[in-house]
């Protein structure tokens, strides 16, 4: 039984990790926290549901379509809203925060108008159970973990071994210098926002066959991935992954032992980590 809890925790970790990774990527290039990230996750799952259940396409097509569509949506949001509001001053980050939180409401409202407020299910995509010496794990959950690993591997390859990845890393470190070397930083920003939102949509798609889908499902994963990147250190990709894994496991394992009280423990733990190590586990201290 206990192993089942740990596997559930791992599945949650995968979702938080994928979301947190996208958020950190956006943060490192744009210098902002995208508070509507959870809503892109929700929209991803919703689009997938429509493509699979209403249009009748196979799951893989829905996955790709949803990631693509939400990626483009994220690019449009960056180009036409965030970039215009983000004036280079102390108040820029403030207005971006307000705008993305307003977008959160906007997307939730739009989704409940389009799809209704009720929870929907996608049905099993990969039926079957893997039995390992008395422990039963559904194929579905294994697939989520493998898919997440694949996405992470692809992201590491793109960031580490391609010209675009090099440009992204350069723009994250020194935007001015990158611009001097011919990197179009504005375009990189739009691209990164698209990638981040597509990753959120992918996380939503992974989750859709396991948990119910509704317009309000973005809130908790959003807060959790926020906590994950804060634990890991804002701006550190490794930190986001480690933070996501820690939070996902804590969330299900503590909840198994302490039920409702687990949230207090979770938040208290986050506060404790921040007070001992304000820059997060993998962050560099900033003054």
């Amino acid at each position: 039984m206990l192993i089942g809890i740990w596997v559930d925790g791992l599945v949650q970790s995968c979702i938080y990790t994928t979301m947190a990774f996208g958020m950190v990527l956006v943060f490192s290039i744009l210098g902002i926290l995208n508070w509507a990230h959870g809503q892109f996750y929700m929209l991803g799952a919703m689009v997938l549901w429509s493509v699979v259940m209403l249009a009748g396409f196979p799951f893989g097509v829905g996955l790709l379509f949803s990631a693509l569509l939400i990626g483009v949506l994220g690019m449009l949001v960056e180009k036409f809203i965030i970039d215009r509001v983000n004036v280079p001053s102390a108040s820029g980050a403030l207005y971006v925060t307000a705008v993305t939180i307003a977008l959160q409401l906007f997307f939730v409202g739009g989704a409940s108008m389009l799809w209704g407020r009720l929870e929907k299910g996608l049905g099993m995509v990969m039926p079957g159970i893997l039995s390992l010496g008395g422990v039963n794990i559904s194929h579905q959950k294994i697939a989520v973990i493998i898919f997440t690993l694949v996405v992470m591997a692809v992201m590491y390859f793109v960031l580490g071994h391609t010209r675009t990845g090099l440009a992204i890393r350069a723009a994250a470190q020194r935007p001015d210098a990158a611009m001097l070397y011919g990197v179009h930083v504005g375009r990189i920003k739009t691209l990164v926002m698209g990638i981040g939102c597509a990753m959120a949509a992918l996380a939503g798609c992974f989750m859709a066959p396991i948990y119910p889908v509704s317009p309000f499902m973005g809130g908790i994963p959003m807060i959790m991935s926020l906590l994950a990147i804060v634990i890991g250190g804002i701006g550190s990709l490794t930190g986001a992954i480690v933070g996501g894994v820690i939070l996902g496991l804590l969330n299900s394992v503590i909840a198994y032992y302490l039920s409702y009280f687990s949230e207090v423990v979770l938040f208290a733990l986050v506060i404790l980590i921040l007070l001992i190590r304000p820059q997060g586990l993998f962050g560099v201290p900033v003054k």
């Binding site: 102390a90 403030l94 307003a102 108008m113 207090v264 007070l275």
Partner: protein
């Protein structure tokens, strides 16, 4: 005429006072409880949004203001319902307790600045809510506490009865907003406000000038905590209940949006404008939505959609995203045909913020 009066400065203020004066006689014009309660609640949110702006002036971004409202509401709820205290002492104690919690939390948490502070205050809000939900023996858990309305006050010729109509609450709200606004306005105009601002704009320079950053951050957080706690107590007693679901993360975020849309350049007017405009907008949308629903035209989620869209548009189309209060400043600049001084500070700000 006194030649020393600066009419360019004074005239807009007089116009503002004349525009604000009708707020005093609203209960004479209408006795519709729905209208009055909408205005009372927007006043309460204005007080809370002012606290958010004050904390923002020290450069910190608090996402847990609703938690202090909840602390205030629960304190006065427990004191009046459990211990049988009268309203007024429990109201004031609520402010003190909330301020004390803000001071204690701030002294620990304000060591980490920026985003981390936002996240910790967010977590704090959740912790307060969960404690309120789980500490059944004191807070009655999810069932919540009943917060009785204030006792009737007898002034000899007239008896102020809080239970019959919302009118006494309305004047109570006006007094609360006025007192809070006056204190915040004095803080903003004084040397203290300037110090807060310098802590926000350039902490390193401020520290080198001999300003103890922590002291001023904790000070602003505590002052905001006291008034937010008072507002929370008033909120609980006006709604006559306090439950864990009333004040959570959405409310904290709502306060933040109100303050930013109203304009953070002003400590009093901006939050008031923002909360009045946005709270009324959301109430109007809610009522319009339910009207549509009763006429058989179901549009789920129209309220958050329009509200979010409106906020995005306000921030997008107001010049440089500076909030509603900036329209007022710009209007008077246009009237006096002054040069737009905004160019200069923006450049300076840019310079100080490029690392």
């Amino acid at each position: 005429m006194n030649p020393h009066i600066d009419w360019r400065n004074t005239f807009p203020k007089i116009v503002a006072c004349i525009l604000a004066a009708p707020a005093l006689i609203v209960p004479l014009l209408t006795d519709n409880p729905a209208t009055l309660s909408t205005m009372i609640l927007s006043g309460i949110w204005a007080v809370v949004a002012m606290g958010f702006t004050l904390i923002l002036w020290t450069g910190q971004f608090s996402l847990g203001q609703a938690a202090f409202m909840a602390i205030g509401g629960y304190t006065s709820g427990i004191l009046s319902a459990r211990l049988g205290w009268p309203f007024w002492p429990s109201f004031l104690t609520a402010g003190l307790v909330s301020g004390a919690v803000a001071c204690a939390v701030g002294a620990v948490v304000l060591r980490v600045g920026g985003f981390y502070f936002s996240i910790i205050t967010l977590a704090l809000g959740e912790i307060v809510r969960i404690i309120a939900m789980q500490w059944q023996s004191v807070t009655r858990g999810t069932r919540g506490l009943v917060a009785y309305p204030p006792e009737a006050i007898s002034l000899g010729f007239i008896k102020i009865d809080f239970e019959a109509t919302p009118v006494p609450y309305y004047y109570f709200m006006i007094v609360l907003v006025a007192v809070t606004g006056l204190i915040y306005w004095r803080i903003g105009k004084s040397r203290l406000g300037g110090t807060f601002f310098s802590v926000a704009i350039n902490p390193m320079l401020a520290e080198h000038q001999g300003i103890h950053l922590m002291k001023f951050r904790v000070m602003a957080f505590t002052v905001a905590g006291v008034f937010t706690g008072l507002a929370g107590s008033f909120y609980a007693h006006f709604l006559q209940a306090v439950t864990p679901y009333m004040l959570g993360i959405p409310e904290s975020i709502q306060v933040m949006i109100m303050s930013i849309v109203g304009g953070v350049s002003s400590l009093v007017a901006g939050p008031i404008i923002g909360s009045v405009v946005l709270y009324n907008l959301s109430q109007f949308l809610q009522r319009a939505g339910s009207d549509l629903q009763t006429s058989g035209f179901v549009l789920e989620g129209i309220q958050p959609l329009v509200f979010g869209g409106a906020v995005v548009c306000i921030l997008l189309f107001l010049p440089r995203g500076s909030g509603l209060i900036d329209l007022w400043t710009r209007f008077w600049k246009r009237v006096y045909k002054e040069v737009d001084f905004y160019e200069l500070p923006e450049d300076l700000e840019e310079e100080t913020n490029t690392h």
